[in-house]
Amino acid sequence: MKQHHLSHHLSNDELLDRMYLVESAPHLAVPHLNDCEECSSRLQGLERKRAEVGSAAAAAESGISNEFLAAQRRAIYARLDQPASVRARWAPAALAAVFLLVMGVFLVRPHPQYHQVRPPDPVVAVDSINEQLFSDLYSMEQSLEPQAAAPIHALFEVSGGDVEQ
């Protein structure tokens, strides 16, 4: 079987990882710690410090006064005595209110499907267009000739007179 051995001491980060059980290669670190006195004593040093933190926390724990705990118990008993129905009574009412609110928002909000269709722009009937066109043409026909053509007409009129003579 192949033997794995670390050729170097574990770094402080590797020891930290070991202490918090997140080392990436426990199959290497654990045998090394078993064999290497220096690394194992360094790990023990770290563990000792962590224990000091734990004892500080425990000391803080013991600093919790009995009066505080008694007051806390009284508060818990008061909440135990509170009938569950007090809270339960409000729950359906609250649910109903929320439901009505949601429904109200849903119904009031104009749904795109129900939007009023905008009436189309008035379209002039084709017949009326034709009618207008014919009346324009007729009026043009009946109207006086354009002034631009007048000199030419005058020429013809003159020459017409000469022919008669």
Partner: protein, 192 residues
């Protein structure tokens, strides 16, 4: 093995038993909540919630005998704290920066008596700095790290308390240690 706690009893007897049991567990539960939440008021509320939930669970008709009431109440407490930590994320108006006054309170809890005074002083410093750094962790990372760091629980035990498998616990622990590595390095190496 822990004394079994029989549940689903008539209310009066249950309250009597419950009261005695609460007295025996209350300090530990409050301390746990305080470590997880780092706020005395919130820890107080979480402790109350914990015992209230326990009482309600014990009164249910389908409740059965608990083999390990201490572990059971610990699980309820941890979950109550996790709920609070998660909801705290949204309550930005409640966040307050950790001040030197807070550290003073922590330090005042450590009674100085030579020759252990120095050790305790440094331990309190470690504790204060770590507690401040814990704010950077997610609720689960924080719970996992705290249960290992202060309560020396194994990954299996933490997984059982949080209802997670060991792999997930290890992943949370890994991330927590990665985020706290700077503080941990300073505190373990450079505080003395």
């Amino acid at each position: 093995m822990a004394t079994p706690l029989v549940t689903a009893r008539p209310a009066a007897a249950a309250v009597t038993d419950f009261g005695a049991w609460m007295v025996s567990e209350q300090r530990r539960v409050f301390a746990l909540c305080h470590r997880l939440l780092q706020d005395a008021d919130e820890a107080d509320s979480a402790t109350q919630d914990t015992f209230l939930k326990a009482y309600q669970a014990m009164r249910k008709e389908d409740a059965r005998e608990l083999d390990d009431p201490a572990r059971w109440i610990t699980r309820i407490a941890v979950n109550s704290c996790l709920d609070r930590l998660r909801s705290r994320k949204w309550q930005f108006w409640r966040r307050r920066p950790r001040t030197t006054q807070d550290e003073g309170v922590t330090l005042s809890l450590i009674r100085s008596s030579a020759p252990e005074a120095e050790d305790r002083y440094f331990a309190a410093q470690i504790s204060s700095r770590l507690e401040a750094a814990l704010d950077r962790l997610s609720a689960r990372q924080r719970a996992v790290f705290t249960l290992r760091h202060y309560d020396d629980l194994s990954l299996d035990e933490i997984g059982e308390l949080l209802g997670l498998d060991v792999g997930t616990v290890k992943a949370h622990m890994f991330r927590a240690v990665s985020k706290l590595r700077g503080e941990l390095r300073d505190l373990y190496e450079g505080s003395r």
